[in-house]
């Protein structure tokens, strides 16, 4: 049933799907994670900053990076992204890449037999099945925000202690890659059976580091797991570090000061260009910098339930008025946005070529002509002097400068937008209640994957409920999104996605990005073996991180 060729084909699909996720290191400081030929040095404690705290310890139910950074080192996942090449999916507790049936409906996965939980129990397929049952088919009272990503899964079974089988209802292009989701920590079946909520307040994983302590609001400490199954290419036991300490620092100045005073070595989410430059000046010989495009974006979201934004001409005018290329040139100097792109991350595997993108409303390089057209559309719609409130959240980076830029662009076509800044909770309440005219929304994902990036584009009363804040219902768009999701040929899928971009951002102009974010990580150059990716969720198990002697 399963052939080597299919395994190879699947691997190729992974590779294609993830191609161009690879970061391009730019900026000052030393730009390579480790000088060539340098051997990893065991020992030491990595001290890093995390600027928020997770509500619970359960990766299956939370969505914040603040959970992954301190907690991911305690856990393994079925598959993961290769720390040395983040475009590649590799097995974690799986023994090999999945065997896929010819109809692409059955995924058979062989598991490692040398994996132990930190409490000494051996991991078997029972644990992996219990984990995925909890994620995909959560019982009442158990939250699983990503269950929808596995909607294609019909059953999960384990014919042997080292084998499990996923059966799908229909072929899914994103299913295999989603098995490398950094949130899908492998939990103990016994513990879940005793208390399905056990992992919300406790830690017991199979990962490279054992939980030591957590002082709320202060720090999180882990120590090396001596029984960890992972080994590097030369057969050396992983992890290299003796342990790590995550410091909770919520103030931006305090974060910079922590690195500057060398009390912390790195912060894995990202700093602003100014913070990078401040640190570069203060630590000219001790700082390394890695930078990469980021799968995070701000959307302009007109509320289609509110007049005059129910008129497609008004929505088109809003996007036509924005000169994204000029915005990129100026905003990238002061905040964490950079690339001009559509619904897929620019430079990513599903992004359109620049020439094609420029045919979409709002993406032309002839900004003057676009603005003229925007004025005409507003006049045609009967609102030449349109004015409205532009809802935004009270976070400086990058929301405030992005909004100010957009407001200025709109002003140039006669639109008066009042910046309506609210603290995050009130902002979210307004978004969810539809209590706004136009809003600046945002989205971050762990992977260049259309199923993820298009989640906010489903009809608001259907799968987009609670996600689609433009509040439209469009059966045609739903069909287009569903079709790309089932298309397993990457090239064909890319074409389908391009069609969706044209339709959603131009023809209907429902909602559209401003600029894509750009990730900047300045850190003490004693930290080695960590490579930046295009998201701040993956590659956080710290398995291959080590500290150079200074």
């Amino acid at each position: 049933m399963v052939t080597y060729r299919r395994v190879a084909a699947l691997s190729l699909t992974f590779a294609l799907a993830l191609a161009a996720c690879s970061p391009k290191a730019t900026g000052g400081g030393s730009q390579t994670p480790a000088p060539a030929g340098e051997q990893p040095r065991p020992g030491g404690t990595l001290t890093f900053i995390v600027n928020a705290e997770p509500p619970s310890y359960d990766g299956h139910r939370e969505t914040t990076f603040a959970l992954l950074h301190p907690i991911a080192p305690h856990y393994s996942t079925l598959y993961k992204f290769d720390p040395s090449d983040l475009t590649k999916v590799i097995p974690d507790v799986a023994a090999a890449m999945p065997d896929v049936s010819s109809d692409k409906l059955t995924y058979t996965i062989k598991l490692r037999t040398d994996v132990k939980f930190h409490d000494g129990q051996k991991m078997t397929s029972d644990d992996v099945v219990a984990t995925y049952q909890k994620i995909i088919f959560p019982p009442t009272g158990v939250l699983s925000p990503r269950a929808g990503a596995y909607a294609a899964v019909d059953t999960i079974t384990n014919p042997a202690p080292d084998q499990l089988v996923f059966k799908l209802k229909y072929p899914s292009a994103s299913f295999a890659t989603n098995l490398a989701s950094p949130w899908n920590f492998i939990y103990s079946a016994a513990k879940l059976k005793t208390d399905i909520h056990w992992y919300e307040k406790n830690i017991d994983g199979t990962g490279p580091f054992i939980y030591v302590s957590n002082t709320k609001g202060a720090d999180w400490v882990g120590k090396k797991n001596p029984d960890y199954f992972g080994k590097d290419k030369s057969g050396t036991q992983l992890p290299y570090l003796d342990g790590y300490k995550a410091l909770v620092i919520t103030d931006a100045n305090a974060e910079v000061n922590a690195i500057r005073s060398k009390q912390a070595m790195i912060e894995f989410r990202g700093f602003t260009p100014q913070q990078r430059d401040d640190l570069s000046r203060a630590l000219p010989n001790d700082l390394a910098i890695q930078e990469a495009p980021w799968i995070c974006v701000n959307y302009i979201v007109p509320n289609t339930k509110v007049k005059p934004f129910d008129d497609v001409r008004v929505r088109q005018a809003l996007t036509l008025a924005i000169d994204r290329y000029a915005g990129s040139a100026s905003l990238q100097k002061i905040t964490i946005v950079k690339d001009v792109g559509g619904l897929m991350r620019p430079g990513g595997p599903f992004a359109q070529a620049d020439a094609d993108l420029q045919k979409i409303a709002g993406y032309s390089t002839d900004a003057a002509a676009a603005k003229t057209k925007a004025k005409q559309l507003l006049a045609d719609a009967g609102v030449p002097n349109l004015s409205f409130k532009f809802l935004n959240r009270n976070i400086t980076t990058p929301y405030e400068p992005v909004a100010l830029f957009v407001i200025d662009q709109w002003k140039q076509v006669g639109i008066t937008a009042t910046h309506d800044v609210k603290e995050t909770s009130a902002y979210q309440a307004d978004l969810r209640a539809g209590n706004f005219q136009v809003a600046l929304d945002f989205n971050c994902d762990f992977l260049d994957e259309p199923d993820l990036q298009l989640a906010k584009f489903w009809s608001a009363s259907g799968l987009g409920k609670g996600l689609n804040f433009a509040y439209y219902d469009d059966a045609d768009l739903d069909k287009m999104i569903d079709a790309q999701s089932r298309e397993t040929d990457p090239a064909k899928r890319k074409t389908l996605v391009a069609g969706i971009e044209k339709y959603a951002m131009d023809t209907k102009a429902y909602q559209y990005p401003v600029l894509w974010w750009y990730r900047i990580i300045p850190y003490l150059n004693v930290v080695r073996g960590w490579r930046i990716g295009s998201n701040h969720y993956t590659n956080q198990d710290l398995e291959t991180v080590w500290l150079a002697q200074k």
Binding site: T63, G217, A426, Q428, A429, D445, L463, G466
Partner: protein, 315 residues
């Protein structure tokens, strides 16, 4: 006296119940939802949001939520944080020692500066000494303590390549590390605090120095230092003690920005985070705690008055 003390303590109950009702209503009136915030920016379907609101009991009628909470309080249980699921008491216990210690250090620093300088300014009224002290105190009033703190950290990093430790060490574990972590914030906060007390000390001492009994003491040939310290200062201290004690109560939960600048894991930061998260049980419990601190400090001040001024008696 005993009746007075018992009466004051009993009066605390309606005060705190009033605070509880007010906090409960105000927080519900403020727009925002802890669950929406928990999943902000992620593609979480509405069904998950609704499920979580149900789990947290946020879909119950408001009066029901209030009676549930008051029932818990009556049993001595502050409940669990809606954000972390951990007991509120546990979360407060982690932060309270730091906040109390910082408040004590800042108060000591402030009093050590404010009282002597305030007296000196009063005694040397309109001299250059008075002017310098007044400028110093106006500086303290004008500059926010977090800004002073920020400058202090930048200064120590730039000049000494040193910054206060980012992790709080209890005084029982390592007094030196404890002091290293708290000395700069205590000075930053204490400076502003001292400015208020200094001006109060100066004006009340000036007022007392004009009293008949001070003139009488001087006429009797009592030494000036005794006149000032024993006769004037002691009588001038009542309003100063009031200001100092209220500032102390404020410091327990009011040092939000300073705590952030120095990365101190205190009650102020916890309260602001709780407000940002709409963590109702945490906010209600913290406000109740801070109100209790204010009420108790006020009560303690009234008791101290008796020792400072023998004429005061409560019945």
């Amino acid at each position: 006296m005993r009746r007075y003390v018992v009466g004051r303590l009993l009066l605390m109950i309606p005060t705190l119940v009033g605070v509880a009702i007010l906090t409960f209503v105000i927080m519900r009136a403020v727009p925002g939802d802890i669950v929406a915030l928990q999943y902000a920016g992620s593609t979480v379907p509405q069904s998950v949001i609704d499920e979580q609101r149900h789990i947290l009991g946020l879909d119950k009628p408001m009066w029901n939520q209030f009676t549930d909470w008051m029932g818990q309080i009556a049993h001595g249980d502050l409940g669990q944080s809606l954000w972390t699921g951990h007991p509120v008491v546990e979360e407060i216990q982690i932060r309270l020692p730091l906040s109390i210690e910082l408040a004590i250090l800042a108060t000591l620093f402030a009093v050590a500066i404010a009282v002597p300088l305030g007296v000196l300014a009063a005694v040397r009224q309109d001299s250059w000494v008075d002017y310098v002290i007044r400028v110093f105190s106006i500086g303290g009033l004008s500059m926010p303590s977090f800004w002073i703190g920020l400058l202090m950290v930048l200064f120590t990093i730039t000049v000494f390549n040193w910054a206060p430790p980012l992790i709080f060490t209890p005084i029982t574990e390592d007094p030196a590390a404890n002091l290293a972590g708290l000395i700069l914030p205590a000075i930053a906060v204490g400076y502003r605090y001292s400015a208020v007390s200094m001006r109060m000390t100066r004006s009340t001492v000036l007022e007392v120095l004009r009293e008949d009994y001070v003139r009488t003491a001087r006429a009797k040939g009592v030494r000036e230092s005794v006149v000032v310290m024993r006769h004037a200062l002691r009588n001038a201290l009542l309003p100063v003690v009031t200001v100092i004690s209220l500032e102390f109560a404020f410091l327990i939960g009011g040092l939000v920005v300073t705590e952030q600048v120095f990365n101190l894991n205190g009650i102020g930061k916890l309260l602001v985070d709780a407000v940002a998260h709409r963590d109702y049980t945490m906010i209600q419990s913290l406000v109740l705690l801070l109100a209790a601190v204010f009420v108790l400090v006020n009560f303690a001040v009234d008791m101290v008055y008796m020792f400072l001024d023998p004429r005061i008696r409560y019945a």
